[in-house]
């Protein structure tokens, strides 16, 4: 066996995947004890953002429904956590199921009109959702604190753990992210995930194969919104402050941008895209202090030009090239010689 054949072997690939996962987990657990609190806080932001991006990925990447309004679900998750902790004095962990339920239900609700909308029309309607969220948050100031927002006490690690605040928050985000990624991976790699992708590819054929379009699309929306809601809860925990200005349309667009840069239709792309979007502003600042927005936009355009399939797509291509036998055609199909086909 050449090393290429060995790498193509499914058993080897499974062990490789396990090895990569264990290595990544090791690094992820070691990082908060090595880097400065500022760096650790940045990693936490990447993890939180990645959960929201992953949620949108389930909807847009796998199910083919576009949403420019995921910032709204993010905001609702964040405000649910803030209001319950600040106004009702709930312990921080208890707000998670409530926020998940609320965003799940809202996502399901938005998914129903979305059944009748496609492409740009759906983009427009969800965009409206993102636009109206900040004014609505300002309006119900009894719960939301209005334009002033809400301050909450950042969750502290139990004394026996000896963890600093930044380390504790990072580990909370890490646990949430691992759960979110594991659940998403299982979902995508199942009958239900295949139904989601089938709908993206060809609705009519999917329906003929027995896929209940309305059910799958609304539930995909609900799951997707719930992921954004979870990210919102973590946001509230780590920042300790929510205000309408934190959840403008920019947030929704950033989530979509991260998804596209990371790679549509890839689970890991969400993490890569989130990291890209969190670190890009600081790179852009270094390039051009005066107009960071322009450098940011230019870098985003360059990124899309260099890897059109997203970072995950690029990685997959490189991996494919590594495995392909040098300068040989793709493996012949059974009976390929008679299948040149086409119209006679």
């Amino acid at each position: 066996m050449t090393w290429r054949e060995r790498l193509r072997d499914p058993t080897t690939q499974r062990w490789l995947r396990i090895a990569v996962f264990v290595a990544m987990l090791g690094i992820a657990l070691w990082a908060p004890f090595y880097f400065t609190p500022f760096r650790v806080f940045q990693f936490t932001r990447v993890l939180i953002f990645a959960i929201a991006v992953l949620g949108l990925g389930l909807l847009t990447g796998f199910n083919g429904q576009i949403s420019l309004g995921h910032g709204a679900f993010f905001a609702i998750g964040a405000y649910t956590a803030a209001a319950l902790m600040e106004k009702a004095g709930w312990p921080f962990l208890l707000v998670v199921p409530v926020a998940l339920l609320i965003t799940f239900a809202l996502g399901y609700g938005v998914g129903i009109p979305a059944l009748r909308l496609h492409g740009l029309y759906l983009a427009l309607v969800t965009l409206a959702l993102a636009v109206v969220t900040p004014p609505i948050l300002k309006r119900f100031s009894g719960i939301t604190g209005g334009a002033m927002g809400l301050n909450i006490d950042i969750p502290q690690a139990p004394a026996w753990t000896g963890l600093a605040e930044d380390q504790f928050l990072y580990l909370l985000a890490l646990v949430a992210a691992i759960a979110a990624f594991a659940l998403a991976r299982n979902l995508v790699d199942s009958r239900t995930g295949r139904a989601m992708i089938a709908i993206r590819e060809d609705e009519l054929a999917a329906e003929t194969m027995g896929v209940d379009l309305a059910r799958v699309k609304t539930l995909a929306f609900a799951w997707s919104a719930m992921y954004a809601g979870l990210a919102g809860v973590l946001f509230t925990w780590t920042i300790g402050f929510v205000s309408p200005e934190s959840f403008t349309i920019t947030l929704s667009i950033s989530i979509l941008a991260a998804l596209v840069v990371g790679g549509l239709g890839s689970i890991w792309g969400a993490l890569l895209g989130a990291a890209f979007l969190v670190y890009l502003p600081s790179v852009a600042d270094d390039l051009n202090q005066a107009a960071p927005g322009i450098a940011f936009g230019a870098l985003l355009i360059i990124a899309m030009y260099v890897f059109p399939g997203g970072i995950a797509g690029l990685a997959r291509r490189l991996w494919g090239r590594l495995l392909a036998p040098p300068r040989a055609p793709a493996p012949a199909t059974a009976g390929a010689s008679t299948e040149e086909g086409g119209e006679p």
Binding site: L183, A184, N186, L187, S190, R191, T192, G193, R194, A195, I197, A198, E201, D202, L204, A205, A206, E207, T208, M209, G210, V211, D212, L213, L219, A220, A222, W223, G265, P331, A332, T333, A334, G335, A336, T338, E339, E340, G341, G342, E343, P344
Partner: protein, 255 residues
């Protein structure tokens, strides 16, 4: 009782009469050919059986049951599977995943709650169906391309993928919409064998729309000919071949 009974089915799109009182029956175990010039209403009739169109009049009965009462996605659960005229494959999915979607309606243990948690029932079901699908892939000579995306494979291969996907639903009635379209001579002959053998092995009843006359005449037990939404002839292949109305429909009136 026939497996499929089409009874006086009519359907109009605006001013165009797509189907005009079409009636025929497909017997159990039969291969029934549905022929007719372009625009005769053959695919429209398929779409009525799969519930994507609802006829304005008439009834469609499958196994003694009025199928006009079921939802489009429930049709496959009754045992009716189809292929499409211009392929309805999920292009970016692998061949294996395409075929797995065919088994969608059988995998009732897997849903939006059980799948993310990968409960034991989900795992058992997935294992069972994957074994079935691997056998089907093997049967249709698709094992070598099982992990490649459907996009970019030769047409003859894609036609077999679609057939495998339909069979994965374990149908009793198979609707084939122009299966020979775009295949070369050798492939058409191979397809004849495949369809005949599949009927034996899976106990299928087949309704096939086809323009390729040699193909449809050689495999069909009965043939129905439509023209302008009306049934103009039905009978054995030999009867149809000599039917003046059929000859006129295809070649034009003898002037």
């Amino acid at each position: 009782m026939s497996l499929l009974e089409i009874d006086r089915v009519g359907l109009r799109f605006g001013g165009i009469v797509a189907l005009d009182g079409v009636s025929f029956a497909v017997e159990r175990g039969q291969i029934c050919g549905l022929i007719g010039p372009n625009g005769a209403g053959k695919t429209t009739l398929f779409n009525c059986v799969t519930r994507h169109y609802t006829p304005d009049e008439g009834t469609i009965t499958y196994d003694g049951r009025d199928i006009l009462t079921v939802e489009p996605h429930e049709v496959i659960g009754l045992g009716i599977a189809r292929t499409f005229q211009n392929l309805g494959l999920f292009e970016l999915m692998t061949v294996r995943d395409n075929v797995l979607v065919g088994a969608h309606h059988r995998m009732t243990a897997t849903n939006f709650v059980t799948a993310p948690l990968r409960l034991p029932g989900v795992r058992a079901e997935e294992r069972r169906v994957r074994a079935d699908v691997d056998a089907l892939l093997d049967r249709l000579d698709l094992t070598a391309v099982a992990d490649r995306p459907a996009q970019g494979l030769p047409l003859g291969t894609l036609k077999r993928v679609e057939l495998a996907r339909a069979l994965a639903s374990q149908p009793r009635l198979l609707l084939l919409d122009e299966p020979a379209n775009g295949l070369n001579h050798a492939e058409v002959e191979e397809l004849q064998d495949v369809v005949l053998r599949l009927r034996e092995d899976f106990d299928l009843t087949v309704l096939v729309v086809e323009h390729h006359m040699a193909f449809v005449m050689s495999i069909s037990d009965a043939v129905v000919c439509l023209n302008f939404g009306q049934e103009i002839a039905s009978g054995t292949p030999d009867e149809i071949r000599q039917d003046p109305a059929v000859i006129e429909a295809y070649l034009g009136p003898d002037t």
